[in-house]
């Protein structure tokens, strides 16, 4: 009985695994992005960088008011930017998905929330999350339809 119930979910589990594991070709031709990014209390400009997998990113960082920092999640890149002295950073976008970059030098009240985003497309992480959401919800609803709980219906209706 219990086994039947679990087995009935097998197709959904299979689909979920496919969504999670299927390797998709990342075939866009790499280019180089040359971007000048300013940091001032409490935002980066441009706030969002969108690049493709394999692209090279050449960032020139400039602080316009006080000392700021630049720390890129997942890439482990960190640097300090003093006003008037621009900093060069170069990296290859070799991890897909969204990574936040944040100020890493205490620069004032909103410092912990001084955050920008690097989105490396194709953003398969997000696509997989969305696919997983659909499959898991479908699986849940299917299961509830097939095997309603056996608890008594305690009516609140008249």
């Amino acid at each position: 009985m219990k086994r039947d119930r679990l087995l009935s979910l097998a197709p959904f589990v299979g689909l979920a695994l496919v969504i999670l594991l299927i390797p998709l070709p990342l075939t866009v031709k790499p280019v180089t992005h040359v971007v000048t990014m300013t940091a001032d209390q409490f935002a980066f400009d441009p706030p969002v960088l969108r690049v493709n997998y394999g692209d090279r990113v050449r960032l020139t960082l400039q602080a316009t008011d006080v000392v700021h920092g630049f720390y890129l999640d997942g890439y482990g890149i960190e640097t300090r930017v003093e006003p008037g002295i621009s900093q060069q950073i170069e990296f290859v976008a070799d991890q897909i998905g969204k990574y936040r970059f944040r100020c890493s030098v205490s620069c004032g009240t909103l410092h912990p929330f001084m955050i920008g985003e690097l989105v490396v497309n194709p953003n398969l992480t997000f696509a997989r999350a969305v696919g997983l959401t659909a499959v898991i919800l479908a699986g849940t609803l299917f299961y509830l339809r097939r095997f309603p709980p056996r608890e008594p219906r305690e009516h609140t209706t008249a």
Partner: protein, 457 residues
């Protein structure tokens, strides 16, 4: 109903809970840190990341509360919370021993219209529209903490019991609601025993315990919401009829008795705030942060108006439409309002998990500040434990997104199941219940996708 494991069968745990020292001792510990947080706020460095007040309140306490205490232990924070301490001790004229007689206060009557959590809803929103300022200014945080404590003391002079906790505390409001999902409960073992026990020691108090300060009768507790786990009734009950149990998550969400519009709104407000904070604080939009941070007053006013509109009109409006559709496809005869209230409880797991996911974003990233602040709570250059110069080290920055996805999916499944089981309380057949669940699940899926878009899209 469902699986229970009585924790108080453990002798030492029971002895601990029954001891008059245990709970005030913990309160005194948290009170110490509370006072340090206030002092650091007033006299320490204004740089939030190096101030004990900011780091220990908004990162350490917050993470502990929302990731550990509420999901697993329900209102347990309220057992040890320092805020009502001074007021309660004043009423009791003592801290540890039971002082004879009824606790003192002017015994005003709390207005009937306020015997709900609307004040807590609006109090939470009032704090929320200032949150960007509060979270980043140690001085403002200190005023908030001090203000809450003073309000607690003031109310305890005029009213009996923990009126502040029960009806006013903006934190208590959501702890209570989210405790419906938690895996621990305080309940009586046998309801019949309570019915036949005419002296009701848990309500009146005994010579070594106080009557329930939360104005609850443990004998008919069916939900965690308003029991502050203060342990007084465990000490009072001469029949040894009060127990602390482990139980399945989400049990109380299915209890129809006690559902109300104020709680439903709390569920919607909390969900909306988790989404809004994720966008405002963690998003890349500098201008929103500036507005929230009171760059200019009109900008802040616009931000606050938008924030309130989303909380009080937009999200509840969308949910109202959802429940109207759910009513129709499920052929349910109840008024939409009734259904709106009931289905709102299915948002509770999603909301709690949304808050946990949101908290993951900054707890791992900024948790390391706590280590250095512990050595230098005021930012004056102290080095109490030799950890002052531990640098800011974000933890697991590559893994947080995956954890958030996993959490959100658990929330979606959990909430959908609860929605279906609530639907079954209103329909004649399982098929109708299932149909009625579909719009609610779609709403929940929408919420999940917005969270995902903000975190990794």
């Amino acid at each position: 109903m469902g699986y229970r494991f009585e924790l108080t069968r453990s002798k030492w745990l029971k002895a601990l809970l029954k001891s008059r020292v245990f709970q005030p001792a913990l309160m005194l510990v948290t009170l110490f840190f509370f006072v340090v947080a206030i002092l650091a706020g007033f006299f320490g460095t204004p740089a939030g990341s190096h101030n004990f007040g900011i780091i220990f309140v908004w990162i350490v306490w917050w993470a502990l509360l929302i990731i550990v205490l509420v999901p697993f232990f329900g209102r347990m924070w309220c057992t040890i919370c320092p805020i009502p301490g001074p007021g309660e001790w004043l009423q009791r004229r003592g801290i540890i021993q039971r002082t004879p007689g009824r606790p003192r206060s002017l015994r005003w009557r709390w207005p009937r219209r306020l015997r709900n959590i609307w004040l807590q809803n609006f109090g939470f929103l009032a704090v929320a529209i200032f949150s960007t300022v509060i979270l980043t200014r140690p001085g403002v945080t200190a005023w908030l903490l001090l203000g809450m404590m003073l309000l607690g003391v003031t109310l305890s002079i005029f009213y009996e019991n923990r009126v502040f906790c029960r009806y006013v505390c903006p934190v208590g409001g959501f702890i209570g609601l989210y405790s419906l999902t938690s895996s621990t409960e305080l309940r009586v073992k046998d309801v019949q025993v309570c019915r036949e026990h005419t002296t009701k020691d848990c309500v009146i108090g005994t010579e070594h315990s106080y009557g329930c300060p939360w104005m609850v009768f443990p004998g008919n507790l069916e939900r965690n919401t308003y029991c502050g786990l203060c342990t007084e009734c465990l000490k009072a009950c001469p029949k040894d009829n009060v127990a602390l149990n482990l139980r399945p998550f989400g049990t109380d969400l299915l209890v129809a008795k006690g559902r109300s519009l104020d709680e439903a709104y709390k569920a919607l407000i909390m969900l909306a705030c988790a989404l809004l904070y994720s966008g405002v604080l963690l998003g890349p939009w500098g201008w929103v942060k500036d507005w929230a941070n009171m760059a200019t007053l009109p900008q802040w006013a616009a931000y606050a108006a938008g924030f309130l509109a989303i909380n009080l009109l937009v999200v509840p409006g969308l949910f109202w439409l959802t429940t109207a559709v759910a009513r129709r496809v499920g052929q349910i005869q109840l008024p939409v309002k009734r259904l709106f209230i009931d289905y709102a409880y299915s948002l509770v797991p999603m909301g709690l998990i949304g808050w946990i996911a949101f908290s993951f974003s900054f707890v791992f990233v900024n948790g390391s500040y706590a280590v250095s602040v512990l050595s230098d709570p005021f930012g004056w250059g102290w080095d109490l434990l030799g950890t002052r110069s531990v640098p800011w080290t974000p933890l697991l920055p590559g893994l947080v997104a995956a954890l958030q996805v996993a959490l959100l999916l658990v929330g979606l499944v959990f909430s959908s199941i609860i929605a279906y089981r609530i639907a079954r309380q209103h329909t004649r057949t399982d098929v109708q219940a299932w149909h009625s669940t579909l719009p609610v699940s779609a709403f929940l899926a929408g919420v999940t996708l917005v969270f995902m878009r903000l975190y990794l899209g």
